[in-house]
């Protein structure tokens, strides 16, 4: 048999808006999956050689020599390294760098990629730079205005820039973003005099060799009293997967929102498709075609056009990926390989196809289940609405797939999103019905729009929901970004501290303070800095691998920074408990409230830390809200002064340095080896650059959201098109002129816009407030502008829709025809 007429009919009934919704859904999902894959691949590529070997041992003090000796005896190759942040100085310029000083044989795995001649090619190197020379990352060279051959000050040594480093085993992606890498030999490091007893340095040993002896060796290492931190390649990959999830969480939520809108549009499109297929279904069932076979035939007929349409989304996804990759070049490590890209696109195509066919199946099946006598009576078979349960389940599934972190850590947020998407139309429908009741007996200009919304039923409710959703999310994105930037800039206002100096040994405090005062950089206040490992909470041993501490595992695996203060920090806010008196002799702790929440501790809990072989137990007596954006020394854990007495410590300070005074600071730092400096304005520049790129992404996301909302609105308009056409035809026949008809249509659009604007703007205010308070821990900016903005945008959007709506039904002949067709929409 040739192509069945039904196949062709279904292909034709699967209209433009349904296809557009499917393309949009596939493209959005595909873009997200491809980018997430590329980001993961990029992080893996950058960090796969992180270890410089198959595994590493790391410790915040020199590793016992026995560890390396035993490894060699077990047939493993070893290479030592030291890593720490410090200030690099070139003339009047200072920049934070991550020093990686490596011993012979490093790297055991991977290689360095370096440009050793200006404009020359990138070359691979298996050995570090020559003695007295350093390789620096291009970002660091840009900060310092350093060229190849220039000499830069690192500690007390003046070292030659021997190459620009593009990839270095042993430097993580995060480290290279905030403190670009600087590589030298261990032999060169000694000349810098940077590594002192209290310096914050990571001592490492890379290991390479066959798996079995390595496993045996690492098992032995774990029993050693020094308990070095052991990392293997698979740990890195696992942690990178987590990082990727965290980085893409926000985008995943937007993708979910776009998908929700697209799914709604698809649901309406499925109903429109079913409406077109209803007469033939009614006839065929009456004629005796088996119902089950008819249902199957509909779906089989739909499969090909659906898959073809899904496939059409892939070039759109690739275009979007190219655009985003161009926007974020340099900000994110994106690596595209044909296999994963094709895999991601295939997943997007299949997921959208499955989701769409589930929706269509739900609606089309209804065509084959109505009464066969319906055709004889001239009525159509009843259409079953795509049930909210199916929609909700589908969205939850996609949500869990896209944002597992959100699913696990913020189930309420995910549930609220899904519930919002499903419940909003229900609320709108009820609201419109109430409005119609209130408008009863009023002037026609008021009564008509109000009752029109109620008459349109689900179409108007879904249309309003789509707009409200899109507006709400777009305004939230703008509001949050505006709030964060404003706070960052406020934090760096003139006269506020803009430089951090840390790694200051007790003996260096007084000379440094004198030098800074003489240079006119003001008086400094030092905050003590004690490196400690949290070992017990409320007497129970802390296991970083425990699911209870999943979100703070990284912190628990590393040393934390404790500080002490006699008085409550002025930029903090006391939320619970009481802060100790200056004379307190008790071992007390004051915790950042979010940190306390992550550790599941509260007032009265005890935290035991290991510091230089001693255990210090602190009782939590207060919870604080920390203003992390104040650019003053802030700590998750503050201890009462008596608790940290006698423990090894270094100091930290912050100071306001006007641009003209930076060369003076550079001169001081040259004479203070070991003191690291961070230019907060460089952080702000980085944040601004990232935010600018993010803004482009936000605009792109908002545009996609609006496209989805537009599609949904168009689908909803289509849903009620026949009804509108018939109404207009009737009104025209009764003598209502075109101008008045337009006014009535505008009134309906305006009413819908006001409803959507109120919901969208109100929702955006609530979500932005929540995001600023709980996600960023920042003060909430003024958000009143959101409501009028949402109202104006939605009213404009709908008025435009009404203005460009087809006017064919307005002529008297068309009116008669529309009535003759009974609004059948054929």
């Amino acid at each position: 048999m040739r192509a069945s007429p039904l196949t062709r009919a279904v292909g034709r009934a699967f209209g433009g808006r349904a296809r557009a919704a499917v393309v949009l859904a596939t493209a959005t999902l595909g873009t997200f999956l491809v980018l997430r894959g590329a980001l993961f691949a990029g992080l893996v590529r950058r960090d796969a050689d992180l270890l410089g070997g198959r595994a590493t041992l790391a410790l915040s003090r020199p590793l016992p020599a026995l560890l390396a000796a035993r490894a060699r005896r077990d047939g493993l190759r070893t290479a030592s390294w030291v890593r720490f942040p410090t200030a690099a100085v070139h003339g009047p310029r200072i920049a934070l760098a991550t020093v990686l000083a490596v011993g012979p044989g490093y790297p055991l795995r991977g290689d360095f990629r370096v440009r050793i001649r200006a404009g020359g090619p990138r070359v691979r190197r298996r050995t570090p730079p020559p003695r007295g020379g350093v390789w620096i990352a291009p970002a660091l060279a840009a900060f310092l205005h350093a060229r190849l051959g220039d000499r830069i000050d690192v500690g007390v040594a003046r070292l030659r820039v021997a190459g620009f480093l593009e990839r270095a085993p042993g430097i993580g992606w995060r480290a290279s973003l905030f403190a670009p890498p600087l590589v030298m030999r261990l032999a060169t490091l000694a000349a810098t005099r940077l590594v002192l007893p209290q310096s914050r340095v990571v001592y490492g040993l890379s290991l390479e060799g066959p798996r079995t002896p390595l496993d045996t060796y690492l098992s032995w290492v774990r029993t050693r009293p020094s308990r070095p931190f052991v990392r293997r390649r698979r740990d890195v990959v696992r942690s990178l997967r987590r990082t990727t999830r965290r980085l893409t969480r926000y985008a995943a939520l937007v993708v979910l929102a776009v998908l929700a809108l697209a799914v709604f549009a698809l649901g309406l499109a499925a109903r429109a498709t079913a409406r077109r297929l209803a007469p033939v279904a009614a006839y065929l069932v009456a004629q005796g075609v088996d119902r089950a076979r008819l249902g199957r035939s509909f779906l089989t007929a739909l499969a090909r056009p659906l898959l073809t349409t899904c496939a059409l989304g892939t070039p759109v996804a690739l275009l979007a990926v190219a655009l985003i990759a161009a926007l974020f070049r340099g900000e994110l490590p994106l690596v595209f390989a044909p296999g994963p890209v094709l895999g991601s696109l295939l997943v997007a195509v299949l997921a959208t196809a499955v989701l769409s066919s589930a929706l269509f199946a739900n609606t089309l099946r209804a065509l084959a289940t109505g009464s066969p006598a319906a055709a004889l009576r001239g009525s159509r078979l009843p259409l079953r609405r795509a049930s909210g349960v199916v929609l909700g389940a589908a969205l939850l599934l996609v949500g869990a797939l896209l944002v597992p972190d959100v699913g696990v850590h913020h189930p309420k947020l995910l549930a609220a999103l899904v519930l919002g998407a499903v419940l909003l139309p229900v609320l709108f429908r009820a609201g419109f019905a109430l409005l119609a009741r209130l408008a009863r007996g009023r002037a026609v200009g008021l009564w008509w729009p109000a009752t029109a919304l109620a008459r349109r039923g689900w179409a108007a409710a879904v249309e309003a929901s789509a707009l409200a959703f899109a507006l709400g999310l777009a305004l939230t994105a703008v509001g949050v970004e505006h709030g964060v930037v404003r706070d960052l800039e406020h934090g760096l206002a003139r006269g506020q501290p803009n430089w951090f100096l840390y790694g200051i040994t007790p003996g260096a405090r007084a000379p440094l303070a004198r030098a800074l005062a003489q240079a006119g950089l003001g008086r400094v206040r030092y905050a003590p800095f004690v490196t400690a490992r949290l070992v017990r909470i409320d007497g129970r041993r802390v296991r970083a691998s425990s699911p209870r501490y999943r979100r703070v595992a990284w912190l628990l695996r590393h040393d934390q920074n404790l500080s002490s203060r006699r008085r409550f920090p002025p930029t903090n806010r006391l939320l619970a408990g009481r802060f100790w008196s200056p004379a307190s002799r008790a071992a007390e702790a004051s915790l950042d409230r979010r940190f306390a929440r992550l550790l599941h501790v509260g007032i009265g809990s005890t935290l035991a830390y290991r510091v230089a072989g001693r255990t210090v137990t602190l009782r939590v007596t207060s919870l604080r809200r920390v203003d992390w954006w104040s650019f003053r020394p802030n700590f998750f854990v503050l201890a009462s002064p008596s608790a940290l007495r006698g423990l090894p410590r270094s100091y930290l300070t912050s100071l306001a340095v006007p641009p003209a005074a930076v060369p003076r600071l550079a001169r001081i730092l040259r004479r203070s080896p070991g003191v690291s400096a961070v230019d907060a304005s460089a952080l702000l520049r980085l944040a601004r650059r990232t935010l600018a790129a993010s803004r482009s992404l936000v605009i792109l996301e908002a545009a996609t959201l609006f496209l989805a909302a537009l599609l949904l609105a168009a689908s909803a308009l289509e849903e009620s098109a026949a009804e509108r056409r018939e109404e207009r035809a009737l009104l025209t026949l009764w003598g209502v002129g075109p101008a008045r008809l337009r006014r009535l249509a505008a009134g309906e659009a305006l009413a819908l816009g006001i409803a959507a604007g109120l919901a969208g703007g109100g929702g955006a205010i609530v979500v932005t407030r929540l995001a600023m308070e709980s996600l960023f821990d920042l003060p909430v900016p003024a958000l009143g502008w959101m409501l009028p903005a949402a109202l104006a945008a939605s009213a404009l959007f709908l008025l435009l829709s009404a203005a460009i709506a087809p006017r064919a039904a307005l002529g008297s002949y068309a009116a008669l025809r529309a009535l003759d067709e009974g609004g059948g929409g054929t």
Partner: protein, 229 residues
Amino acid sequence: MNAACDRCGLLRLEDVSHGYSGNEETASILEGVSLTLERGERAALLGVSGSGKTTLLAVASGLEPPRAGRVRFLDRDLYALDENRRAALRLAHLGFVFQDIQLFPLLDVLENVRLPLAFRGDADAEERAREALEAVGLARRARVRPSALSGGEQQRVAVARAFALRPLLLVADEPTARLDRGHARRVWDLLTGLGRERGTALLVATHDEALATDCATRYRLEGGRLRNA
């Protein structure tokens, strides 16, 4: 009523009653209706709007089980069969023409006629569809969509679709109700002519007494009861 044919009858309704249940009361539509139709016989069903003609057709063609009584088609008790078997019987032996025409707007005329044949799995579906269109004088318009046809032409396509199935019984519910006099006559002549030519029995509901005179048997449905007109 043709009592002589109770052994060879194509369709037989025996004491059929039917009605619909409302919120509180039950409305009776058919009460003790009996009817027999032979192969090739043409019967008109007259009655005012709302008299129950459509319900009778639905019950007679196996679309709606009656509340009481039996319906036999080809000597089989229709409602003793399950719905699938009943559907198979309709597809094999019945043709329908509706007042509302029920053409599919997304398919052209030829595809509309071919559609039920394709579902029946007829190998010569296209050929028979073309032949049926030829018979109703619309072969030249095979590739246009129904929306480009007049109401009369659309109903002729529906007639072609029904006859293309070569049914034993053609059930038509007010096939001319929405047409003007000229088109109505043409469609009616087609129905009766093709029926006669192909030996197809016709059961046609109409309120047009003039057209009904062409049928050898005429029934009138009044107050739920059937009598010879």
